[in-house]
């Protein structure tokens, strides 16, 4: 396994301060603290070449986990191993094999053209000339940024900067890539380009990629396996398809009616989500979907009927908002 996490915990001790001037004075003498359990007993393994989606609501612990894996944060307890290294020791041999890209966070040198940063990274990572030229050429072509290489980073748009961030992060051909919300703030066209690039890169280089995102389209398009995390704990770890089967409590029946039927009659079959004659959408319990479909066909003048899984976003939302076991 390339990545192994075992009972990882990362707790923060944060100071609580009352509002106002008296609160400030009081906190000089008496300090109240609370413990934030950002990551609370996380365990998983990722094999070489896997592209895993790591999703969760805000404050779930996704970024904290990535930072523990990349060596930025010292774990409170637990075992972390990436490529056989302990990330926090931040040995040069380890850092030369990983990359962390954080969406909307700039790691390029702001006042230099992007290609200067690439050259700087070439020296930092001790990449041979020929390998550097070949890798740079591949990445520039894949991301189509030839005309932007000599422009100061501060003058690039967000989408262009993200492309350069990716190139800078990948110039040393890392074996493990941590992507923290790489498409955040990008327009839909740029999001698709980013996804296409990440998919192609994963297929070409067989690199292991752990991706966090709030956009379900990123996860749907890229990840065969997802890990859902909330309040620092794993809620689900498995294939995206199985996620639907495990958590989707309902199915959605979309029908087209030949003749008008009153909403109250349709409600006898299940929850009427939407009704805009002749189309209606009815939500029914998963186990009763076949029976409900049969009832609709028998009782009502149905011209067309589709049984669909609920939208993955709705499933995830239900997972996040339901009381945790």
């Amino acid at each position: 396994m390339v990545i192994t996490l075992s009972h990882l915990k990362k707790y923060y001790r944060v100071h609580e301060k009352e509002a106002g001037f008296m609160g400030s004075i009081r906190s000089l003498f008496v300090r109240k603290y609370q413990t934030v359990r950002a990551v609370d007993d996380l365990s998983f393994e990722i094999a070489e070449g896997e592209l895993v989606g790591f999703i969760g609501p805000n404050g779930a612990g996704k970024t904290t986990t990535l930072k523990c894996l990349s060596g930025l944060l010292y774990p409170t307890s637990g075992f972390v191993s990436v490529l056989g290294f302990t990330p926090f020791e931040r040995k040069n041999a380890y850092l030369k094999q990983i990359a962390l890209v954080m969406g909307q966070k700039n790691q390029l040198w702001w006042d230099l053209p992007a290609q200067e940063t690439f050259l700087l990274n070439k020296e930092i990572y001790e990449i041979e000339n020929e390998k550097y030229k070949q890798t740079l050429h591949e990445l520039v072509e894949l991301l189509d940024v030839e005309s932007l290489l000599k422009v100061q980073v501060r003058k690039l748009s967000l989408g262009e900067r993200m492309k350069m961030e990716l190139i800078a992060a990948l110039i040393h051909s890392p074996k493990v890539l941590f992507l923290d919300e790489p498409t955040i703030g990008l327009d839909v066209v740029m999001q698709k380009k980013m996804r296409d690039f990440v998919r192609t890169y994963n297929e070409l280089k067989k690199s292991t990629i752990l991706l966090t995102s709030h956009y379900m389209e990123d996860v749907r398009q890229l990840a065969r396996r997802v890990i859902i995390i909330d309040h620092g704990k794993i809620l689900y770890d498995g294939k995206l398809d199985n996620l639907v089967k495990k958590f989707a409590k309902h199915k959605v029946l979309s029908i087209v009616l030949d003749e008008y039927v009153t909403p109250d009659k349709l409600k006898t079959v299940g929850e009427l989500v939407e009704y805009n004659f002749p189309k209606a959408v009815i939500r029914v319990p998963r186990s009763a979907s076949n029976v409900a479909a049969a009832q609709l066909l028998q009782k009502f003048p149905v011209d067309d009927l589709n049984i669909e899984e609920p939208d993955i976003e709705d499933i995830i939302r239900d997972v996040f908002t339901s009381p945790k076991k």
């Binding site: 930072k67 041999a93 966070k105």
Partner: protein, 233 residues
Amino acid sequence: MLLLLFWQGAIREHGEVYGVWTSSAITSYYLLIAIASSFLIVHIEEDVAFRDIKDGALVKYLLRPFSYFIVKFMEELPWRVIQGLLAIVVFLFFRFIVGIPLPIVHRPLEILLVSGVFVLAFAISYVFKMVLGLTAFWTTDFWGTLSIEEFLFSVFGGIIAPLVLYPSVFARIAQVLPFAYIVYFPVVAVEGMLSIYELLRVLGAQVAWLIILYGVYLLLWNRGIKKFSSVGQ
């Protein structure tokens, strides 16, 4: 300038001080202190404390396979080289155009030893300021620490007055702190006010301070990095 005027007035009133500090000597002292401060006093601590630790820019360094200590040195060095070149120009201007006598050592052995004092002074300045910057791992806000350090440096570093003119207690305290070895001793050394023995003693003290400060740096770095939470990044 204010201090120079003060001492000029005191010397006019009472004659030479300690038989050494004439009007000319005090003028050249303050001028050399200003010149030496410009290239010997490092200012990396604000970058380390505010930008890297407090704002989380340290992330950029931690993800790359190089030593933070060495990279920050490389970031600071060009500024000191530029300041140093300007300082040389200022020195030459005051010495040869304005005509202020700025005595400097001229014997080969003294030049060699004084060069060593300057190199070690810069090294101590760098390590000390890095240690100072790393305290932000614990304090987060660095202004208080910076203010205290600036005050102590100006008092015990010889910025306010030559240390020999201090009451003996203060002079002894200054001798055991690192500040004097960054600016004061290099200046009096280059003015030829130290014997060979005293130069060797200063060099020995500088080496000792360098070892102590580097040890403190390693301790603070290893402990501080475990507390780092990369907020905002």
